[in-house]
């Protein structure tokens, strides 16, 4: 993996995890939709649009999206997608300490298995 791909990958992980954590925080304040009918969903999207945390998350996720587009043009899909595996560990640490989620040992084990699995998929070079 070249240095520029690695640097872009770090930028992608920081923006992606940061954006998702902030969005998760905001969406907990918004609350779940009252139903799955079009009007309920529209009300849900409108409530989300009024939440200020969502507007912090969107630029971060947009930056992660654009860095992902650049990564796609620089490296194979089978390398870029699994290489973002570190999102799982960084995200779980942030969820525990920033969102105060109760990450049980079973959940940690699951996250580590997922991360190891994704890394193995990367090491095999796609398929």
């Amino acid at each position: 993996m070249s240095q520029r791909v690695l640097l872009m990958l770090i930028f992608f992980v920081l923006c992606n995890t940061g954006g998702e954590i902030v969005m998760s925080y905001g969406m907990k304040q918004v609350g779940e939709p009252q139903g799955f009918r079009p009007m309920s969903l529209l009300r849900f999207v409108w409530s989300a649009a009024k939440n200020r945390w969502l507007w912090v998350a969107i630029p971060m996720l947009a930056a992660s999206f654009y860095s992902l587009l650049i990564l796609f043009s620089w490296a194979k899909l089978s390398v870029v997608i699994p290489a973002s595996a570190s999102n799982f560990i960084v995200g779980t640490i942030c969820a525990k300490y920033l969102l105060k989620e109760d990450v049980s040992s079973k959940r940690w084990l699951g996250v580590i298995c997922v991360c190891a699995g994704v890394t193995l998929v990367l090491l095999t070079g796609g398929h």
Partner: protein, 141 residues
């Protein structure tokens, strides 16, 4: 069905929708960006890339699927833990491998299979934990 079972069921359905939208979106974006070619990191290079992405049909289809993914994700994290939803979404890697085998007829190494099994086992473990462990009522705005 108890409240926790209902919560787990609707979270897993939402995660499945997330996975389908994200995989299709990524595939379309990759196709579009491969058509555009290497992006040069300079002001004119980025401007050219931006213009090319706006004009690409594959990119727009990819964006639509990724909007679908974002809506499903927003809905899932409105009731479930981020640390529950995020690893469960990794199930997409297993689906990608299945698509590679059954649709593209690619061969998959033993190491790759072990990776996929680890992902499935990890998702299974995470899926057994409580979907929501936070008290959302105390969140400050």
């Amino acid at each position: 069905m108890s409240h926790e079972h209902r919560l787990r069921f609707k979270t897993l359905v939402m995660v499945l929708l997330m996975v389908v939208c994200a995989n299709t979106g990524d595939l379309m974006l990759a196709r579009g960006m491969k058509q555009i070619g290497n992006v040069e990191i300079s002001v004119p290079g980025l401007q050219r890339a931006l213009l090319s992405t706006i004009q690409s049909g594959s990119i727009w289809i990819g964006i639509l699927f990724l909007i679908g993914f974002t809506l499903c994700y927003m809905t899932a994290v409105s009731w479930a833990d981020y640390s529950f939803v995020m690893p469960a979404g990794a199930f997409g890697y297993a689906i990608q491998t299945m698509l590679a085998i059954f649709v593209l007829h690619e061969t998959v190494s033993v190491k790759h299979w072990i990776g996929v099994l680890l992902i499935c086992f990890g998702v299974l473990l995470v899926g057994q934990t409580k979907p929501n462990t936070t008290n959302v009522a105390v969140l400050p705005s």
